[in-house]
Symmetry: D2
């Protein structure tokens, strides 16, 4: 709704991955690859596979009708498949989406785009670690007062502080390396999750660059695990933001921030905007994570309610994490520690 | 990001209230009314008030610069005031936003639009109660099996069930009548909340149709109370949705739903889409409410972090509640109870 | 589990209201009053009412069997009623719990004890406001630097700061006065909520000092509203705690705290323990509130799952709020503002 | 507070790990091992190490004084160290807790007991998987109607359903194997986290069976990661519980549950108590997880507020997960699928 706010807490690159355009493009691609995989295994005629893939290649969906269908069906796939079948025409049209169900397409599209989001986040995470290491190299020996429980404790160095910020970020990298192969699996279950055959699944997975495996329709643990990782990352950044905001207090003055935010009433002020945003995004993601784990209670072979709840939460979390990494890097590259 | 999803869980009318356009229009209006109030009390010359109000009347902000300023300052007002001052020109330009601070404008704009949102929600709530009463009039005598703890208990009637849905909605109306006058107060504090004088505040409040009162910059209880009310409403609707989804099970068949959602794999199915959405939105709002109450810990005379967190949560909650009321009414008007 | 932690964040007086002892005593009392009300209306013989009330008067339940029954039934009432019936003996034993269901007894017991908890909290809230007013009287004129967005803004006074703490607390008092009569109603629905007759309900309500009204078995909005109020109160106290912790920083030194917590490594430190606890309890309650509102999705005529979730959350919230008020008052009575 | 409720949703074995007794025993053990490690490296005299370890061996703390100290200091260690030093006597008493800080002892004690909790949970998880596999072996071929979006879809088998329950549990085992070595590290930082020397840390870690490594005082990602794992496990169990409650509906009758809970009003009912509890515990943990991730925003070198919040949440989550696993196994061993 509010695009101005996005300038502060949004992230266009990540938001694009969760846009309608990206979702529909992924869905159409999946239908094409599915048809080719099914043709390769002889489940549908080769010419059907070719025809479907060709039509998908430059298909433009009717967005108005998709929106109507979303409002009525709670999912966009039935109408998308109808449009695709019409575009393919007979005799091959009816072989579009052959044996598949809406959730196969929706979840596989989600996973494809989550893969892109995780790549982007991994890249930013590395960039942030590098920037913090560079800051440590430059300012690390500056003496700093440590504070415990909001009271002065004993002196240490900026390098000690920075190391305590960096280490968790490197653990997040290790976590990501472990969860990525576990999480990004093709979903191909058909109406009730029995699958469309191991070979088709393996072929489709290979074409899409995803892991193969059994249908996971009603098993949302991988989604919830990705959400937890996102919140771990933004939480560690929130800790950095909180530290910076405390160190940037005029009375403490342990850091200098470039480009502090302007005030409409007090020209002398320089607000620690990026630091505040890191705290806000950490609290946002912690909040949303609680909701995402509610969606683990996914009834029967598919829950409309829990599934919709996921859609409302997970993209926000990915965008918030990406925005936090961007702000974190901006901070790391522009702040400096002040000799006490 | 995803406008197709909005067709299901969004609400255009409410989202409009929280759009940039509505926010900026409210902000510009507040600056105009403030100048007129200050002119009336002699704080600024009458011609300054007139000039500022006139310029505000057809002011079009430079959105690109506002977005840049948002990213840098974490708040849009300093740049908006700069643009307004330039448009007004000297000698009166410097009297735009006289004595006020960013948060005065942001919070008063929020309250103005929350007033509109509460009106809209109150109207829909009444419409839903009426629709449920009409359904009770028509189907109320149909015998129904009551279920406790997911097991058949004893028969009662559709009227008994409907009454149990209606009564909490009427309590929500009573709650709204109590919290509305308490919640919608003008915010006029100046840099640190000391206010701009009682008379100016009273005049500005009157012009804007808000309650007067002391500056509440750092007191977010009214925002959190509105959030709780939103979640109470959507929670009661989530209960209705859950009941409908359970009654609409094929094995139970106690209700018939018009226009169930289509399935891409199983043409015989009719999914209880609206009922599922009610559950999803209830769980969304419960989740977001937890975050909104985290923002009560609003440090010092203004918290950038807690304030940003509010912005990220409250509009979503209002939209979700409005969407739930729309779906609830749609359900009430299209469902029917089935003789057992 | 951890009673040492309770010394910090617990509250024995409030915890007692939610103890097994208090719950069972309330339940037995309700069974007695119900029998007397039913005798008065002629639903059961007068001598049955007298006999049941007399036995209830000094009944000691078999706790071991109640625990076994809790584990098996998910609710304690069936076994409690069995024990009571046995103690009453025939011919009147079978008239214990006449027409009632487990939830009538559990929910009415909850409401009775919530009434006690709200009294206690109201009393502490008033005490806290008085203590803050006294602090304002003594220290109110001391000059203080206001901080917005974690930066120095302009000077104001300790009195201004204190007023911004007091006003929300007084709003909480006004809120409580409005929600109390709405919330504390007897629950008497029988198996599926059809009630046991208006007259019996009215009599029982009168005997218990509760509001009468229709059965609200499956309408949890009043519970969720009380939870929201608890979180509003602890949230406002968390804001006070955060302010105090920031002002007590050595570099700021705007307040002096008596009896700061000791450190095992640094004898010179005085940790702002009470202030930290206020922040922790505010965040705890905000968290739990999100879960309590999830429990609004209470399926059918009674949800075992949502009901159990309430039991796990609401008592914690009441205790946390009571503990926060106790710490808040302790702070108010022992802190002092320091001339800048 | 309410021990009857613990009979349903508690877990005595896990609760014991988070009791005062277990915490104090671990703390005293850590002080002993620390002294021995410091003696071994020559940091304190060998006879000091021996004397301290000997006294710790049968030390009984004064609990009343510890509670007073908890209330005053917000942490129990300063008073515990005082008591230990007194018991050791001079000249070695002052070498108790040499160079360490409260948080070293509190966090290392937490990690030691979390190790025990994870062992217990891993054992129960395996037991549950085995029980579900046995159920599949017996009932797996029974035909079952699959349901998507609360509507009948197509038939599959009990074996398909059970497999969809088992696979996420096995993923949880894989996750635990990955996070365990990362999470359970000794904490030894001294006042501001600079550590007590690599060799002492390594020796202490070895003696305690923990990983060595740098001080992680202010890095709470490992705690938050364990919390996420707990919620993933209970969430998957909540999904099983929801499925069972739906299948156990009288109208569906796809499963038979042994020992359903009694009703006080309707003797014919058998409530699916364990299934409901699984749902309640899943929603509890999802709620608490949101709060635990709020505690990632851990300011400076130690946060009193965020740390206290952890203490209030993490033990509950471990107990809830253990209780859910116990109920899950009970369900798996007593339920049977019914030929449709």
């Amino acid at each position: 709704m509010a695009r101005l706010l996005d300038a502060l807490v949004g992230d266009a690159e990540t938001a694009q991955l969760f846009s309608d355009e990206a979702d529909l493009a992924a869905m159409v691609r999946i239908e094409a690859e599915l048809a080719l995989a099914q043709a390769e295994t002889g489940l549908i005629p080769p010419e059907a596979g070719e025809r479907i893939a060709a039509v998908c290649g430059d298909f433009r969906p009717d967005l108005g009708r998709l929106a109507e269908s979303m409002a009525a069906d709670g999912v966009v796939v039935p109408e998308l498949v109808r449009q695709l079948r019409q575009a393919v025409g007979e005799p091959h049209g009816r072989l579009v989406h052959h044996g598949a169900t809406s959730q196969d397409i929706v979840d596989t599209s989600l996973v494809l785009r989550l893969g892109g989001a995780l790549d982007l986040l991994a890249h930013r995470l590395r960039g942030l670690v590098d920037a913090l290491r560079a800051l440590k190299l430059r300012d690390g020996r500056i003496s700093l007062m440590a504070h415990t429980r909001m009271q002065q404790a004993l002196p240490f160095t900026a390098g000690d502080k920075l190391e305590s910020w960096i280490v968790p970020l490197e653990r997040h990298e290790a976590r990501l390396a472990q969860l990525r192969p576990r999480s990004l699996a093709v979903q191909l279950g058909g109406p009730v999750g029995l699958g469309l055959g191991e070979r088709v699944t393996a072929l489709l997975a290979e074409r899409l660059g995803l892991a193969a495996g059994r249908s996971w329709h009603s098993q949302r643990d991988r989604i919830a695990e990705i959400g937890a990782w996102l919140s771990l990352v933004s939480g560690s950044l929130g800790k950095i933001g909180q530290d910076v905001a405390l160190m940037a207090q005029n009375e403490v003055a342990a850091v200098r921030l470039a480009g502090g935010g302007a005030s409409s009433a007090m020209p002398h002020k320089a607000n620690p905007v990026a630091a505040e945003v890191l705290v806000a995004l950490a609290r946002l993601n912690a909040t949303l994570l609680g909701g995402l784990h509610q969606a683990l209670v996914h009834e029967n072979e598919r829950s409309g309610a829990a599934w919709t709840l996921e859609w409302l939460l997970l993209p926000q979390m990915a965008v918030a994490t990406a925005a936090a990494l961007r702000h974190g890097r901006g901070l790391a590259e522009s702040m400096s520690f002040s000799p006490g």
